[in-house]
């Protein structure tokens, strides 16, 4: 399934990379060291096609930070990392004063904040570039078996389209890969694409 033109995909990738840059600077400020974040690839899937293999989430368990947003189009936005990665990221963010075995206690709230920063940055860059305004809920973090979390995401949303952003996150030279997933209804996707086309025609 790929109703997006190359130009549309490039534009989305560009928009999200601007968001990633914003998120990286916020994260650097918190970590006190350089954090790099980029979105190398954006892909569109049918929700029903999504599983752990497609997303190459090879961990047993995955952590997901979710925010629901609304505006000219509505979507659930979710940041996904394998739990192992999530723990490493939290450890890197908290610095060496925390032992890796103690990280579990902080995983929930620290991952919530990390997701909040990345999701907000992507949403705000989308809002700025496409000249629209978006409202968002507060982030919720859930962690569980990968297939369970993924099937929950797909069924709960009842939204047929998934925009999947590949995310590269580097903290203290430690590279992690994750995903940012937008779940959209067909009408929301149409609305998003209409905004993108308007943006393209302006430049």
């Amino acid at each position: 399934m790929n109703p997006l033109s190359e130009l549309q995909l490039d534009t989305l990738t560009e928009i999200f990379n601007i968001g990633a840059g914003r998120a990286a600077s916020s994260l650097s400020e918190i970590v006190g060291d350089q954090v790099k974040l980029s979105v190398p690839r954006v892909q569109l899937y049918k929700s029903s096609d999504i599983n752990a293999e497609v997303l190459s989430l090879n961990g047993l368990r995955v952590g997901a930070v979710k925010q629901s947003f609304s505006g000219p189009f509505d979507a659930d936005a979710m940041l996904l990392f394998t739990e192992e990665r999530a723990m490493e990221i939290v450890h890197d963010m908290m610095g060496s004063q925390v032992a890796i075995e103690d990280v579990a206690e902080f995983e929930q709230e620290a991952m919530c904040e990390l997701g909040n920063i990345i999701l907000n940055a992507c949403l705000s860059s989308m809002a700025d570039m496409l000249d629209l305004s978006l409202d968002s809920s507060l982030p919720i973090y859930s962690v569980g078996a990968t297939d369970l979390i993924l099937s929950q995401i797909v069924s709960e949303a009842d939204q047929p389209v998934m925009l999947v952003l590949h995310i590269d996150l580097a903290i203290e030279k430690h590279l992690s890969q994750g995903y940012l997933v937008f779940l959209l209804s067909s009408s929301s996707l149409r609305e998003l694409l209409a905004h993108i086309d308007r943006f393209i025609s302006r430049i």
Binding site: E29, V90, E109, E113, S124
Partner: protein, 332 residues
Amino acid sequence: MNFRPDYHTSIWEEIWDAVKLGLILIDSEGKVLLWNDWVAEHSGIPAEFASNNSLESLFPGGLSAPFKTAIKNALSHKLPIILSNALHRSPLPIYPLPITQHEQKRMQQSITITPICVSGKEHLCMIQIADASISVKREGVLKSHSERLSKEATTDGLTGAYNRRFFDERFAAEFGRAQRQNIPLSLIMLDVDYFKRYNDHYGHPAGDKILVAVVTALKAQLNRPTDVVVRYGGEEFAVILPDAEVDGGRIIAEKLRVAVADLSIPHCESKVADHITVSVGIAAYQPGTSCDATCLLKAADAALYDAKHNGRNCVRHLTSAEFSPSGLANEA
């Protein structure tokens, strides 16, 4: 939310001030519109003073950089933001009560910043400050509990030595490491001589004291943190000596025997001395030999048996070059 019309708007102020949470409302310029009692109490800044001022002028130099960025982002992007306690600890200069004059540590905080839209145009920003010290404290308590529980699960209640459960795990792990890294491993087994007679003559409480004294004496002879003393059962103890060859192990074993004898605890029922003594067996694993963990354990046991049957209050040894998994069966 809907209130009956006979409720006045002043009820909002009442609720605002009754909340056990810090609530600050700022306008799109960052000026304070509302400042509840909780914030006034914990910051020492009264609401009248805070009103219409920016947070930066109210807390000069006191706001963390990520907090300032978060407020700026919340106002410009109108998206909700959280600042977790895990990553920020204390972004605002607010303190536990009562606020004293002298140096005080900032309160542990969890902060939520939510954009609020008034009649579709003006964007305000609400800052909620929750006191995270209770959960931080709870985490600390849980952590010390789990440390205590794991200590209890691996320690012998009477003597404070490690228990058999710990031994099984540690011995298997150390043996695996010795095999992988091609390094020797020594295992000492020792037993208090004529302990049953001691118990019968002096009573069990006195016997218990002997076990405690023996463990203390053994521990005092071991310098490396990786050398561990285990109560293997009854009056039998084991000492794991990683990276120790049989010669080094024998020296330690002899030191342990002497240390117990030097306690000079009278034992009138002993047939080998007039004081408490131990018999010691030691077996060493030599890299490259076909010995497994069970076989090393049997060898140390056999060496102890040997010491028991050769006069007690002495040290006997075996190396894995001298025993094989099959050969030992006869000896033990």
